[in-house]
């Protein structure tokens, strides 16, 4: 019981740093809400310039959903995956490892804090995007949508926790790996065009990235008949797979974290800084 309480406190404390840290500099509103919308706008206008009118609303809805979910991907890559590496550089990692808590709590704290602040950015993107570009969403099943969103986030942040564990070992090389993964995932997750366009098998492979299935399901639930025509799998099946991915990523993350911690302690690399 004591142990659980301690770990929960650790989760809360680490999430607090994220939320307070982000909100403490007022400039975050401009930088994390208004300006990123411009990237989304650019892709909106690609379709405005090229797409036939009958499918344009569905495509714009996809771009806006993609833009909102992209915020989570960026947060997972930069705020989760890389964070243990940054904690190491800052000198905090030792203190986390020395504390009588599971390291998973620290990752969970980061994830919850990151989810909270990123959700604000994502909601803003959807609302502003819908208003500014006059896009209508056809909300079919709020419950399914809620479930898809939740399971996408949990599996995505599970993946982030796995990244964090792996990056703990590889330091600076990992930072660059994250950098390298940024754009290819934009392509493979179907942020801005239906992933099925790349062929069923590539889409299936891409489904290991939780965003792919999440974005596909959200588009089916919000983007009308054109989105359904290009859908990958039925929504319920996608929810099921996402739930499975959550469990798998989470378990792998815990395992990887323990393994990396043991290896690092054996090799004495935990406190090595790559300055």
């Amino acid at each position: 019981m004591n142990n659980l309480r301690r770990n929960l406190k650790a989760v809360y404390a680490r999430a607090y740093v994220r939320i307070v840290g982000m909100n403490r500099e007022p400039s975050w509103v401009v930088f994390t809400i208004f300006l990123p919308l411009l990237s989304v706008a650019a892709f909106v206008y690609v379709y405005k310039a090229t797409a036939p009118p009958e499918i344009i609303n569905s495509l714009l809805a996809r771009v806006i959903i993609g833009g909102a979910m992209l915020a989570f991907w960026m947060n997972v890559l930069w705020g989760m995956g890389n964070n243990f590496y940054y904690e190491k550089e800052l000198g905090n990692l030792d203190l986390y490892l020395m504390a009588p808590i599971s390291k998973t709590s620290i990752l969970l704290g980061m994830a919850l804090g990151g989810m909270f602040s990123t959700t604000i950015r994502a909601i803003a993107t959807i609302l502003l995007g819908a208003v500014l570009f006059n896009v209508s969403f056809t909300l079919e099943s709020p419950l399914s949508l809620g479930l898809v969103f939740l399971m996408t986030l949990t599996s995505l942040y599970g993946l982030g926790m796995l990244f964090a564990s792996l990056f703990l070992m590889y330091g600076r090389g990992a930072w660059h790996t994250a950098n390298l993964m940024q754009e290819p995932i934009f392509i493979l997750s179907g942020f801005y065009f239906p992933i099925k366009f790349l062929g069923f098998f590539i889409a299936l492979l891409a489904s290991f990235i939780p965003l792919t299935l999440g974005i596909d399901a959200m588009n089916q639930l919000l983007g009308g008949s054109f989105a359904k025509k290009w859908s990958l799998l039925p929504v319920n099946l996608e929810i099921l797979i996402l739930t499975g991915l959550t469990a798998v990523f989470f378990a792998l993350a815990v395992k990887a974290l323990n393994f990396m911690e043991t290896m690092s302690k054996k090799e004495g690399r935990l406190t090595l800084r790559y300055m």
């Binding site: 500099e25 300006l35 411009l38 650019a42 690609v46 379709y47 090229t50 934009f186 801005y192």
Partner: protein
């Protein structure tokens, strides 16, 4: 230390800092995968929608030359963040006898060289496999445009570096956001005429729009139809003004920002969370 020496050493330092985590081949691969993937994303959108060939070529050239805007402009402003909070050497660079402005210029140079390689590779890929027809109708216009544009972009990067001296970690988003701003308003991946009229006005006020237009004209023989009433010479004059103007503004603004940072005592702040 002479001006050239400072720039040379800073460029070398930039290369070392960017690439010392891996062997040169991997770094090379890394440097080109990301921008190529960025371009390919738009390529796939155009393919998906079966857009006309000319529009595709305009988008392709805009997209690959936009790499300079993203890498050099964002890269130079990121130098401040990285040197201040990660390597914690910013204060030592400030107290060194060499000029910090030249140091940043050197760092911009190393990023420009790496980006040029990525631009070349993506360009060759586009011509070989994606059906982009480069005619290079006006090599002189191309070279002049490239030189003027890169000067202006590096200077812009230094202006943003100055701003970074005063801002927290959100600077990460400044780069992303500014990149988004230019991506949107400069008609990088779609013709300007698609934008609402107010957007077109903003786009036509941004020097990067004309830089991309001149590059397209020089390489493809045609440009964005909505800018067709601008003769080449007028665009060149604009680019000269952009390069010289931003160069001087960058010197003054960086000086102002660094003085302000010193006054506020935030030259070596850390804002990670």
């Amino acid at each position: 230390m002479s001006i050239l020496k400072t720039i040379k050493y800073s460029a070398w330092l930039g290369w070392e800092m960017d690439s010392n985590w891996t062997d040169p081949f991997l770094f090379f691969l890394y440097s080109i995968v990301r921008p190529i993937a960025g371009t390919f994303l738009v390529v796939l959108m155009y393919w998906f929608i079966k857009a006309p060939e000319d529009l595709f070529s305009l988008m392709f050239i805009g997209s690959i030359f936009y790499m300079y805007i993203f890498n050099v402009l964002f890269g130079v402003s990121w130098v401040i963040q990285e040197d201040r909070e990660h390597y914690k050497v910013l204060k030592y660079i400030f107290i060194a006898p060499s000029n910090i402005y030249l140091y940043l210029l050197g760092r911009a140079l190393s990023k420009t060289i790496v980006t040029t390689i990525a631009v070349l590779i993506t360009g060759v890929f586009g011509v070989a496999f994606l059906g982009v027809k480069i005619s290079l109708t006006n090599p002189l216009l191309f070279l002049l445009t490239l030189a003027l544009g890169l000067t202006g972009i590096a200077a812009f990067g230094i202006i943003m570096a100055g701003v970074s001296l005063l801002t927290a970690r959100h600077n990460f988003f400044i780069g992303e956001s500014l990149a988004g701003l230019f991506y949107f308003f400069c008609g990088v991946i779609f013709p300007l005429s698609v934008l609402p009229s107010w957007g077109q006005i903003i786009g036509k006020m941004l020097p990067m729009t004309y830089w991309l237009e001149a590059t397209r004209r020089a390489l493809l023989g045609f440009g964005d139809p909505s800018l067709s009433d601008m003769p080449d010479i007028k665009i060149l004059i604009l680019l000269v003004a952009f390069a010289i103007g931003f160069f001087f503004i960058s010197i003054l603004s960086f000086k102002f920002c660094s003085n302000l940072a010193k006054k506020k005592g935030i030259l070596d702040m850390t804002t990670w969370y």
